[in-house]
């Protein structure tokens, strides 16, 4: 069963994230893929994440396929205009990629090439429409394609955005434009996630809850202060503090596992997306503790 078939048939899915290397040495990336193989349903391959220049997402997806792992091609609009985007997306399809996650992309100032010219010829909603068009056999200018794509189109949403209403408006526009599944920004407050899901459940789309492992109380505090759209509740910070330095990471893994378990058992979302950020090797442990392995 493919990632799409699983989600669409109502199976609870687990996805993870792997970033391509900065350079040509793919040893670590392949190690992570092998580690996650068979344990997750698909792996997101990031696209110059945080505007830091790395090997491209498409090559990462092909390596995924070579190792028997189903990839989700992350595509941002920061680095390519509509010609480059469509051309790469067609190539990805021909090479066997079937899932795509459409994003606008972090601004260049977040990354390591701050003087780069940001493109943003189109943005997330436009990109979703573009891929929907390719699926329909037409390019963005309405020209017929010789052979169309059949991508499972995904997008992102931030359930903890503040204010939330404009974000929900955009979420709805993404759905109308052709998004079929969503992976959320990291969520930590299950009650608030349920609130968001009450809204999201009005629409015929699949929602995969994003989870970022907390390594320490300090990291939780950093996320709250610096990362937009992420809110770690005080009780989790207290829990990490109480665990002490030695056990903080283990407690963080437990928190993620507990959230996964709750999302799964209470059917809050249709799956979870575990963003380990440098701790990909811990994902199997988390899934075991969540009872999903």
């Amino acid at each position: 069963m493919t990632f799409r078939e699983k989600l669409e048939s109502g199976k609870f899915v687990v996805t993870a994230e792997v970033g391509p290397p900065k350079g040509t040495d793919i040893t670590e990336m392949v190690h992570h893929l092998e580690l996650l193989k068979g344990k997750v349903d698909a792996i997101n391959i990031t696209d110059n994440q945080s505007a830091v220049m790395r090997m491209n997402s498409l090559s990462g997806c092909v390596i995924c396929l070579q190792h028997g792992v189903e990839p989700i091609l992350q595509v941002t609009c920061r680095d390519r205009n509509r010609i480059g985007l469509q051309s790469d997306i067609l190539g990805a399809y021909v090479l066997g990629v079937r899932n795509i996650l459409c994003m606008t992309g972090d601004y260049v100032s977040a990354g390591d090439h701050k003087d780069a010219k940001p493109v943003y010829d189109i943005e997330s909603v436009g990109l979703i429409r573009t891929v929907a068009g390719l699926n329909n056999g037409k390019d963005l200018s309405g020209n017929d394609l010789k052979g169309k794509t059949d991508f499972y189109i995904g997008a992102v949403v931030t359930p903890e955005a503040n204010p939330l209403e404009p974000q929900l408006m955009k979420f709805e526009k993404k759905i109308r434009s052709g998004a079929k599944f969503f992976q959320t920004q990291a969520v930590y407050d299950m009650e608030r996630l349920k609130e968001f899901m009450k809204f999201a459940r009005q629409y015929p789309v699949k929602i995969i809850a994003g989870l970022v492992v907390l390594k320490s109380a300090g990291m939780a505090h950093f996320l709250n202060t610096n990362v937009p759209g992420i809110r770690v509740p005080q009780e989790l910070i207290d829990e990490l503090k109480a665990a002490g330095k030695e056990k903080a990471l283990d407690t963080g893994l437990n928190i993620t596992a507990r959230h996964i378990r709750q999302i799964y058992e209470e059917k809050i979302c249709d799956g979870v997306h575990v963003m380990a950020i440098g701790m990909e090797d811990k994902v199997p442990v988390i899934l075991e503790r969540a009872g999903l392995l």
């Binding site: 601004y107 100032s109 997330s124 209403e165 408006m169 955009k170 709805e172 526009k173 759209g229």
Partner: protein, 223 residues
């Protein structure tokens, strides 16, 4: 208006130090409002140059420096002073500088200012970019607030994930353009309208340089 900023004098001086005499041209529109090309700025540059042993043959603030024909007429009485000057220094925007270039083919022309953007004076001596001259205005759809210009990513359908407490991740001192648009449309009771539309990808063909707009009948030459 076109927002301009005075170049560092040393940078200007590097360009003009080889000349002995100058004609200084300002502009009574944007550059005057920006304090970069009005009477006081011309006077100050004149004094600075004279202090360095240079000659200023005359100074003049054009009414609208980007209006080529009007400026040509205005400058007629200054023919002698301009002829006498080895070089023209323009204290306006890049368009004004190029008016002088167009009018005086044989004379070196140097800009005293950097042209920054099209914006509004929001407080005294504070200027904010408001319009990108993209060629296809969408203000009718966005409550009169331009996301092409005031959102660093030029988003068309709502805030990005970087919005934090109504502020922009790229420039935290900036309010998120899309939160502003949303709030304004809410105030105007037009949220349904805002939620409804999906804007087509921008027609960047409308912004291909160099642009020409001709609001007059096309002339048909009889050969």
């Amino acid at each position: 208006m076109i927002i301009t900023k005075k170049k560092d004098f040393q940078e200007l001086y590097e360009n003009i130090k080889g000349y002995r005499s100058f004609f200084l041209l300002g502009c009574s529109e944007c550059a005057t409002l920006c304090g970069t090309g009005g009477e006081p700025e011309l006077k100050k540059l004149k004094e600075t140059l004279e202090g360095l042993g240079k000659e200023v043959t005359a100074t003049f603030v054009a009414k609208t420096g980007c209006q080529v024909l009007g400026t040509k007429v205005e400058l007629k009485p200054f023919k002698e002073a301009i002829d006498k000057a080895e070089c023209i220094i323009v204290l306006s925007c890049g368009a004004g500088t190029q008016t002088a270039v167009e009018l005086y083919e044989d004379k070196p022309v140097y800009p005293a200012n950097d042209s920054l953007f099209l914006g509004n004076m929001t407080r005294l001596k504070v200027f904010d970019e408001r319009c990108s001259l993209c060629g296809k205005c969408i203000l009718d759809k966005t409550g009169g607030i331009c996301p092409i210009t005031t959102c660093p990513k030029g988003l068309l359908h709502g805030p990005c994930g970087g919005m934090k407490n109504g502020h922009c991740e790229v420039s935290p001192e900036l309010s998120c353009a899309w939160v502003r648009i949303y709030e304004r449309m809410k105030r105007l009771n037009k949220l349904d309208e805002l939620r409804e539309f999906i804007i087509e990808p921008k027609e960047w063909s409308k912004a291909q340089k160099p642009r020409r707009h001709q609001d007059r009948p096309v002339e048909h030459k009889i050969s």
